[in-house]
């Protein structure tokens, strides 16, 4: 059953490989600089490597936008996104999986009564606009610099040919790695919270459960590259194919750099450690990044008149139409899935404002006399609670979000005998593991209760105000919340 549900993700992966390989090695193959098989093999290897090694960064952002927690919901969202891409492509509209999947996640959020994280959403939307522009600027600068350089040095046409060939292969590898890293979230992102895979020990290295999921997705991208991308490259015809191999090389390099910077956790860490604002890790559309790259080269070559405004309008339309259609389709498909096929498409997140919650809120300075009137009432979803809080209390929207966060009911049971089995000992400090084990047999209804206890017992769990350190702690806590959920513990205990 799980595999049937995952199939829609694999379909998305296949379609990504078939459609987007052209944006990685299309010109190399189109200009016959590199054989298709060579290019496809290199791209497949690197797309999988990118997905497994660096896929987590951008995928994390989708998790914040909406953590689809039931696999039937993930299936429906991915399928709706795939169908949207398929239909819009059929009608000749420019479409990208990235935009479709974001629409699908929002569709699920609305259906399941989850709050849409507007901060994350605006971050995603701004990168859509920024990615083609950044790609254009990079290719413009590279083109001018390269032309200047080539005008000064005397390189034989044959050597130039050789360097271009090597360059196209390197860019294909880098592009494939970046595509895998940045776009695996589009393929497998909706399955993260309902991931059926377990971590895998391959002797030399160990793959986390999420990496196994990405590996599976990456394999389907590779299948898409091998089975169908040649046909797409040959028939679709793209602006980049009209470029000379060197100009195409620059456009592709710019695209790859953009995909990379929006996926690289290392770069993010570097920027933070230098005290610079980090680049958000968000999946971006490779087609739009490459269009940006092509426009950058065209402007450098022939000036501003080269901008094709109709193409730009089409891209902007894609930003709006694709997510909206995918969102609407997801919403209705979830309804059908839930009511016709009777599959759970989401697990409700009930919210209860208990004495402990009110006490905790007052320590944070959030006091409202109306909160006590809502005590012990069960709210089926964050949206339901939000509406009541808005109506009855005078809390600000930031405070409302805090109330929602703290009142989310969970059931976490700490079993010290499972700590070593479930947690990677290299990931946690000795103190962190010890403090967790000390809580053996205790049940926590709210996540923050467990967090508070841990922070009191061991300073390694405490926030220090450093962005990277604090995020690292949150990620570790998320792992614990997931692994020690009572439903998971029961699964492990029952034979």
């Amino acid at each position: 059953m799980t595999w049937i549900f995952l199939s829609s993700g694999f379909l998305l992966g296949w379609s990504l490989g078939a459609n987007n390989a052209g944006n990685i090695f299309g010109p190399a193959v189109g200009t016959r600089m590199v054989k298709f098989r060579t290019a496809a093999l290199i791209a497949s290897i690197f797309v999988i490597l990118g997905a497994v090694i660096s896929g987590a960064g951008a995928a994390h952002t989708y998790g914040k936008l909406g953590a689809i927690n039931a696999i039937a919901g993930s299936f429906t969202a991915a399928l709706s996104a795939a169908l949207t891409v398929f239909w819009m492509t059929k009608f000749g509209l420019p479409v990208s999986t990235t935009q479709a999947i974001v629409g699908a996640i929002i569709g699920w959020d609305i259906f399941s009564g989850n709050l849409i994280d507007t901060t994350t959403l605006s971050k995603i939307l701004s990168t859509w606009v920024a990615s083609p522009i950044i790609s254009g600027i990079i290719s413009f600068v590279f083109y001018i610099a390269l032309r200047h350089y080539l005008g000064r040095v005397k390189i034989h046409i044959l050597e130039m040919d050789l360097y271009t060939r090597i360059g196209l292969i390197l860019v294909a590898a880098f592009g494939a790695y970046s595509l895998g890293a940045n776009n695996i979230a589009n393929v497998m992102g909706v399955f993260i919270s309902s991931n059926p895979f377990r971590s895998l020990d391959l002797g030399i290295f160990k793959l986390k459960d999420i990496q196994v999921l990405f590996l599976a997705g990456g394999v389907f991208i590779a299948i898409g590259i091998f089975t169908y991308s040649y046909r797409v490259i040959k028939t679709v015809g793209n602006d980049i194919f009209k470029l000379s191999p060197i100009a195409a090389l620059i456009a592709l390099l710019s695209e790859s750099i953009v995909l990379f910077i929006f996926a690289s956790q290392r770069l993010e860490r570097l920027l933070i450690s230098l005290g610079l604002p980090p680049i958000p890790l968000v999946p971006v559309s490779s087609s739009q990044a490459v269009v940006g790259g092509v426009i950058g080269v065209a402007i450098a070559k022939k000036g501003w008149k080269m901008i094709n405004y109709r193409l730009l309008i089409k891209i902007v339309m894609g930003w709006i139409f694709t997510p909206v259609s995918a969102g609407v389709l997801t919403f209705f498909s979830l309804f059908v899935m839930q009511n016709v096929f009777t599959q759970p498409v989401y697990y409700p997140k009930p919210h209860v404002i208990s004495d402990e919650v009110i006490e905790k809120l007052s320590t944070l300075g959030i006091n409202d006399p109306q909160l006590t009137t809502l005590e012990h009432k069960v709210f089926k979803s964050p949206v339901a609670l939000k509406n009541v809080l808005k109506e009855k209390t005078g809390l600000s929207s930031k405070q409302i979000l805090k109330v929602i966060e703290l009142s989310e009911v969970d059931s976490l049971l700490i079993d010290s005998t499972l700590v070593d089995k479930l947690l990677d000992p290299y990931m946690f400090t000795h103190c962190q593991l010890k403090s967790l084990k000390k809580l053996h047999g205790q049940l926590f209804v709210y996540k923050w209760q467990l967090k508070d206890r841990l922070q009191k017992m061991c300073k390694d769990w405490q926030y220090i105000g450093d962005k990277l350190h604090d995020r690292d702690i949150n990620e570790k806590l998320d792992i614990i919340f997931k692994k020690f959920r009572i439903s998971e513990i029961r699964k492990l205990r029952s034979p």
Binding site: R32, G151, H156, I157
Partner: protein, 215 residues
């Protein structure tokens, strides 16, 4: 990877050698014509033999380059242009060879008063051929200098046209030559002019290919 670099360098050397052969032939052509006009038939025939040999060497080199370009799938974008350039440059060398062989076969009589102009014509033709070789060479390595060479090439071609026309007029105004001698000399002058025309054609092609190659 190393073999690809080696192959590329070998091919570059072959192309360069092909162009060197044309230059070498044009020098022998100039000297040969000088001997002929001086009446030194022995050394002249020696030059004819050398040019004949150089021409077949150039043919071999050209074929080898063409074969390599196709076999190793090199220059997919510019391959057609490069092949056309090599073949057209070879046509110029063929025209040089045919001209000097025809001279050896027919031995046209050149009156003393025409000899100086004939030598000027030969020199202008050789200059055009040399400039053509520089144009082609720079197409491969130094695109920015190509326009300069093309300008010079056009000047030399124009010069051959002017000298050629002047000579033909003079030839047909003479009373000391039979009509058949006049026609023979005219053909020879036209042959020389044709070499410069062919060289100019190569220059025109390079001009287009250069634009195609601008990144």
């Amino acid at each position: 990877m190393f073999t690809i670099f080696k192959k590329t360098r070998e091919l570059e050397a072959e192309i360069s050698k092909f162009l060197d052969t044309i230059i070498e032939a044009s020098i022998h052509f100039k000297e040969g014509m000088k001997y002929y006009l001086q009446g030194n038939i022995g050394p002249f025939e020696e030059k004819v033999r050398i040019i004949d040999k150089l021409e077949s060497q150039a043919d071999d080199l050209r074929r080898s380059v063409e074969e390599n370009l196709y076999l190793n799938m090199l220059l997919p974008e510019a391959r057609g242009d490069v092949l056309a350039l090599l073949e057209n440059s070879d046509d110029v060398l063929n025209a040089v060879e045919e001209t000097i062989i025809e001279c050896s076969v027919e031995k046209p009589e050149c009156k003393e008063e025409l000899k100086q102009e004939m030598m000027q014509l030969v020199e202008a033709v050789v200059d055009a051929v040399d400039e053509m070789v520089s144009t082609v060479r720079d197409y491969f390595t130094n695109l920015s200098d190509v326009p300069n060479h093309i300008t010079k090439l056009k000047v030399h071609e124009h010069e051959t046209d002017e000298i050629g026309e002047r000579m033909r007029r003079k030839i047909f105004r003479r009373d000391d030559l039979d009509l058949c001698q006049k026609m023979q000399l005219r053909d020879f002058v036209l042959r020389l002019e044709k070499i410069a025309d062919l060289a100019e054609d190569v220059g025109d092609r390079v001009d287009i290919y250069r634009i195609k190659r601008l990144v």
